[in-house]
């Protein structure tokens, strides 16, 4: 066990320690609980910075195992694995966690479950870090499930609200469906490889010991996990509903970190996925479809958090698309930059909601003057997500577009371009309607949020501006030199593809322009757009009725089956038992008649029996009768 991997263990362990301290001791003291939690994550963050620095100056793999369960030859360990990918992810997770926790001190200030909230956030951070440092399949699954339950607890934090408890349940169950596939994939893989350990499994897979058909099945099953956790179509339905949770939770879990776990997992096991080109294609198409599908929905939503949720879906689709198309670096780069500007967007949205007490963007407006810090930081994030030069989103999006372009898949490339256009449009729609224009009737009493909330916004804004600079091709410090799948794959980002950079900029700017035309200058009335698009608008507003379709199946198929089984169990299986009981009793009742206790009856029965016997013998075996006469 070397220092770096020891530090990795400590980084992950501190938040669970905070959780235990809060639950066991400080629950009653609100401020102490918050401070315990924040201190823990701050130390974790510092350690992550150190490990990141160490990996930059001396890249390498640090790993060790703690025995967790041995069943004969089967070993299950809890381990730590630190390499470049781990440290960048540790950095993102601990940074966003820390900022969100600081922000929560302000946002959740008046909530009666203040301490509980911080304990859950700590538990979440621990689970998430557990995924990141995992060095084997079982461990990643374990922490995968734990972040799932943290998400459940945090979405349902205001459990008295029926929508919140519904959304929590939905999130967990939908994720479970994905996890079912994930678990099968893990079992299949382990069954063949005989170990859970990433490095050993990957070596086994790369030796070509698994036939291609099976490899595709395994890769797709593993991907199911990512479909659930990273909310890809068709399991995306839980994420928009998850917005019922407190906004800091949406920022941390449902935008920056947990939903990126699926992307991270694909990256971590990239060697396995890349063994099957078929699986990679499926991954790319699912990602691409989700990105454009969610972007269209985001065009018409009016709830600020739901717009952001669909935007998250869309951006996660982008990352998955990149990974599927072979863009390992691009996918992880976008994950990183997205974590900053999406967390910022959500926290900014939280700041707005905190001030105006509504999620409906049409009831706000003109907030720029009332909340300048929120407004400016939001603007930075909006520009970043739209992919405007030189903000973070520009570089990572560019990387993805280059990957797609180089892969030669025109369909996916144009999907990504169109999505980029829509992203710029709906994000500026959100920004213009909320911050510019006339004041909505909820905006009157709005005021800027406290410093605990605005400082995290500012820090994230800095990252949203500068985080992309590591993606500038050709320089000394470059993301593609740090995070790469194989030496050869990282090479194409050496020089910038000006054509694509210009195209994507034009696309983004025209999206922004259109948003200004419609929502700011109002040359085109939003209402008339609504009228022209008619049924399409309704379709988008209702999210393509996917939820309704699922509900229909649950009500009309699943519940019918369960009710039928309930009936079957009571009436057929148990009916058989009662039938046996009934027959026994009935038989007993009938036979009871024979036991009258009267000697005459018995004698009569014996006598008639004898007569019958003699007659029977007489008919079938007359010889036997002679025996009767014998002395």
């Amino acid at each position: 066990m070397d220092t770096i991997s020891m530090l990795g263990l400590i980084t992950a362990a501190l938040p669970i320690l905070a959780f235990i301290i809060i639950v066991a001791f400080t629950k009653k003291y609100r401020l102490t609980s918050a401070l315990v939690s924040i201190t823990a994550v701050a130390i974790s963050f510092s350690l992550s910075c150190y490990m990141l620095y160490q990996q930059i100056i001396a890249p390498g793999l640090h790993s060790f195992n703690i025995p967790w369960m041995y069943i004969g030859s089967l070993e299950l360990n809890m381990g730590v694995m630190i390499n470049q990918l781990t440290t960048i992810m540790l950095f993102v997770v601990t940074l966003v966690s820390m900022l969100v926790q600081i922000y929560s001190m302000g946002y959740m200030h008046d909530d009666e479950g203040f301490s509980k909230f911080f304990s859950f956030l700590s538990l979440f951070t621990f689970s998430m870090l557990g995924i990141v440092i995992s060095n084997n399949l079982m461990q990643i699954y374990i922490f995968w499930e734990l972040v799932g339950v943290c998400s459940y607890l945090l979405i349902g934090f205001w459990y008295t609200k029926p929508e919140a408890s519904d959304a929590a349940k939905k999130a967990f169950i939908v994720n479970r469906v994905g996890d079912f596939g994930f678990l099968l994939g893990i079992l299949l893989l382990t069954f063949r490889a005989g170990t859970f350990d990433f490095i050993k499994v990957i070596a086994f897979v790369q030796s070509g010991a698994i036939e291609p058909g099976m490899m595709t099945i395994i890769a797709l099953l593993l991907f199911c996990g990512a479909v659930g956790k990273s909310a890809q179509f068709p399991l995306h339905v839980w994420l928009p509903d998850a917005m019922e949770g407190p906004t800091p939770v949406s920022a941390l879990i449902h935008a920056a970190t947990m939903v990126a776990a699926g992307v991270f997992m694909v990256a971590r096991l990239y060697a396995i996925f890349s063994m099957s080109q078929d699986a990679m294609h499926v991954i790319a198409y699912i990602g691409g479809f989700t990105s454009i599908f969610a972007a269209t929905i985001a065009l018409v939503q009016k709830d600020i958090k739901r717009i952001l949720a669909f935007s998250t879906l869309s951006q996660l689709g982008y990352m998955i698309l990149a990974l599927g198309a072979g863009g390992y670096t691009a996918g992880m780069f976008h994950l990183t930059t997205h974590a900053f500007f999406k967390a910022l967007l959500f926290l900014g949205a939280g700041s707005v909601i905190h001030a105006v007490h509504t999620n409906d963007i049409w009831q706000t407006g003109g907030l720029h003057k009332k909340m300048p810090i929120t407004s400016i930081t939001m603007l930075i994030a909006t520009l970043a997500i739209a992919g405007i030069f030189p903000l973070a989103g520009f570089w990572s999006k560019d990387e993805i577009l280059v990957t797609l372009h180089d892969s030669g898949n025109t369909l996916l490339y144009y999907t990504a371009i169109i999505t980029a256009f829509m992203t710029a449009f709906y994000m500026f729609r959100l920004y213009i309607v909320t911050f510019l224009g006339e004041q909505g009737h909820h905006s009157e009493h709005a005021h800027e949020s406290p410093l605990t909330m605005t400082i995290p916004l500012m820090i994230l804004a800095v990252f949203s501006i500068f985080a992309g600079l590591v993606g500038i091709p050709g320089q000394e410090i470059n993301i593609s030199k740090f995070i790469f799948f194989s030496e050869s794959a990282g090479s194409h980002a050496e020089s910038m593809n000006m054509g694509i950079a210009v195209t994507s900029s034009i696309v983004a700017l025209s999206g922004i322009a259109l948003a200004f035309i419609v929502y700011f200058f109002k040359f085109i009335k939003a209402e008339s757009l609504k009228k022209i698009s008619g049924p399409i608008y309704t379709l988008l507003e209702n999210k393509y009725y996917i939820d309704e379709i699922y509900m229909f199946f649950i009500k009309n198929v699943f519940f019918v089956i369960t009710e039928a089984l309930k009936w079957f169990d009571r009436n057929v299986v148990d009916g058989a038992v009662n039938l046996v009981a009934f027959l026994t009793r009935w038989g007993g009742n009938k036979l009871r008649r024979t036991t009258t206790g009267s000697v005459q009856t018995y004698a009569l029965v014996i006598f008639s029996g004898m007569i019958i016997a003699i007659i029977a013998f007489a008919i079938y075996d007359p010889e036997a009768l002679k025996l009767l006469g014998r002395p």
């Binding site: 369960m69 069943i71 339950v149 099968l184």
Partner: protein
């Protein structure tokens, strides 16, 4: 530490002492006037706690490096018939003895408010416990059967007198059903006794006999079904919902927590270990039945409205995992099965305890008649949610470790069946979260405003149980070592690992 305890335990008949504890409590209760309820309860509790602590020490004293049978007590009794006083534990029993100790202690705490004939109630409860301890400790099949009957019979009175709802019907149904199982077991045991030609009921002798294959094929299902009835093997499970629904809290806890395990234990140790050829012949068939248990049980649970029915069907589903592990016939699956016995025993004890406590307050068990209880009873709600999470196989709880191990083993033996079995994790999540949401979440209902949260005694009972599922869930290393040391010989006898 373990070694020091083992040295002491080897000097004394520790197993006899453990199972005698409840019996001593019973005897001393005859000396206490029935009117002194407090004394009755305290005496029950004290002796249960002693047996629990001794069982815990026994668990740590068991040497898993050595494996096999330890702390043996063997005395000739009726030599001509081969009936001997033969007690001992291996890694399987030692876990189940511990489980029994935990559940009885928690069960007595959960029955603290029994005011109807408490003396008789506790006498029967503890008699039952003696029987269970005995079954898990003896290695003489005659004694095994004797203890088995001691464990099963008090159930009739406990449900018939202290139950709720259609209690006479349920008590009768449950007892008769289990008697059918007993009859099969007796037939099986006698068959083995005579077929062996060894004139002994001692397990270690019988275990070395290679029975004729045809004999095994005929007698294995007799024994397996006989025990399987108690373990709620589909389609012989319907006593369970009715029985549990009518049984008083502690009885449900003991019954689902320990007695059902007794069935599974018999399946593994008596049926499979003694008749391996028969086992191999029947395993595929049984595996399919257990699959029905798992999937059908969890789907049927989705449709239930009564909390106890939900938990009962959930037990059917979870016991299916135990039986699937047994039917998979390798040491990994066996280890998982035994751990699942322990895990499910505690978890279901928690569930029935919680349901009983909730019912005691709301006077209804119909889920749709309750809502928002988390506001009124936060502690009970937290325990319920945690237990639910354990039930749906969340990592960090023992249920996950056990289930994943069974799946790993089952996957080796029957890949397709294992895949279908794993769908159970989705359905389980469905019904567990649905119950939690309906009963505990949602707006506060003024109707339940004056309900009190769990009192100290109840919290102690719940926390005791919760401690073990989390402890084993977080660090399963030790218990798995103990279990694996003793399932290995069974798997080896089946010709595999």
């Amino acid at each position: 530490m373990g070694i020091a305890i083992a040295q002491v335990f080897n000097q004394i008949p520790i197993l006899t002492i453990i199972y005698m504890m409840p019996l001593i409590a019973v005897i001393s209760m005859f000396l206490i006037p029935g009117t002194n309820q407090k004394a009755v309860k305290v005496v029950s509790l004290v002796f249960s706690v002693i047996s629990f602590i001794l069982a815990l020490m026994l668990f740590f004293a068991y040497d898993f490096n050595k494996g096999g049978m330890q702390f043996v007590e063997h005395h000739i009794w009726a030599a001509q018939l081969g009936i001997n006083y033969f007690m001992g534990v291996n890694g399987i029993n030692v876990v189940l003895v511990l489980l029994t100790g935990i559940i009885i202690t928690a069960g007595i705490l959960a029955s603290w408010d029994v005011n109807n004939r408490p003396k008789e109630f506790f006498i029967l409860l503890l008699t039952l416990t003696t029987g269970v301890f005995g079954v898990f400790m003896t290695y003489n099949l005659f004694l095994f059967f004797l203890f088995y009957e001691i464990a099963v019979l008090p159930m009739y009175l406990l449900i018939g007198i202290w139950g709720t709802g259609p209690k006479e019907y349920s008590a009768m149904k449950l007892t008769l059903y289990l008697m059918v199982g007993s009859a099969l077991i007796l037939a099986g045991i006698l068959g083995i006794y005579f077929a062996s030609g060894m004139h002994t009921f001692d397990f270690d002798v019988l275990e070395k006999v290679a029975f004729d294959r045809n004999f095994q094929i005929i007698f294995f299902p007799i024994l397996f079904v006989g025990f399987g009835i108690l373990a709620a093997l589909w389609p012989f499970h319907t006593w369970s919902p009715d029985g549990h629904a009518s049984a008083p809290t502690a009885v449900s806890m003991l019954h689902a927590g320990v007695l059902m395990k007794l069935g599974a234990y018999g399946c593994l140790v008596v049926a499979v270990w003694l008749l391996p050829e028969g086992a191999k012949f029947w395993f595929p068939t049984i595996a399919i039945l257990t699959l029905v248990n798992i999937v059908y049980g969890s789907l049927a649970a989705v449709a239930q409205r009564d909390l106890k029915f939900i938990v009962a069907y959930s037990s059917v589903s979870h016991m299916g995992i135990v039986l699937l592990g047994i039917a998979s016939g390798n040491s990994i699956a066996f280890s998982g099965a035994v751990l699942q016995m322990f895990s499910h025993g505690i978890m279901t004890g928690l569930f029935f305890g919680l349901v009983g406590m909730t019912y005691g307050r709301t006077h209804t068990r119909i889920i749709t008649e309750m809502r928002g209880l988390a506001k009124n009873m936060p502690v009970l709600a937290v325990f319920f949610v945690l237990t639910g999470l354990c039930s749906l196989g969340l990592p960090g709880f023992s249920g996950f470790v056990a289930e994943i191990t069974v799946f790993l083993g089952a996957f080796k033996a029957f890949p397709i069946l294992a895949i279908i079995a794993i769908t159970g994790i989705v359905f389980t999540a469905f019904y567990v979260l649905r119950v939690v949401q309906i009963v505990f979440f949602g707006p506060k209902d003024p109707h339940f405003d004056n309900l009190k949260d769990a009192n100290k005694i109840e919290i102690t009972a719940l926390a005791l149980l919760m401690f073990f599922i989390i402890a084993v869930g977080v660090y399963p290393f030790y218990m798995m070592k103990v279990i694996h040391s003793s399932v290995l010989p069974i798997a080896l006898k089946l010709g595999g690992m």
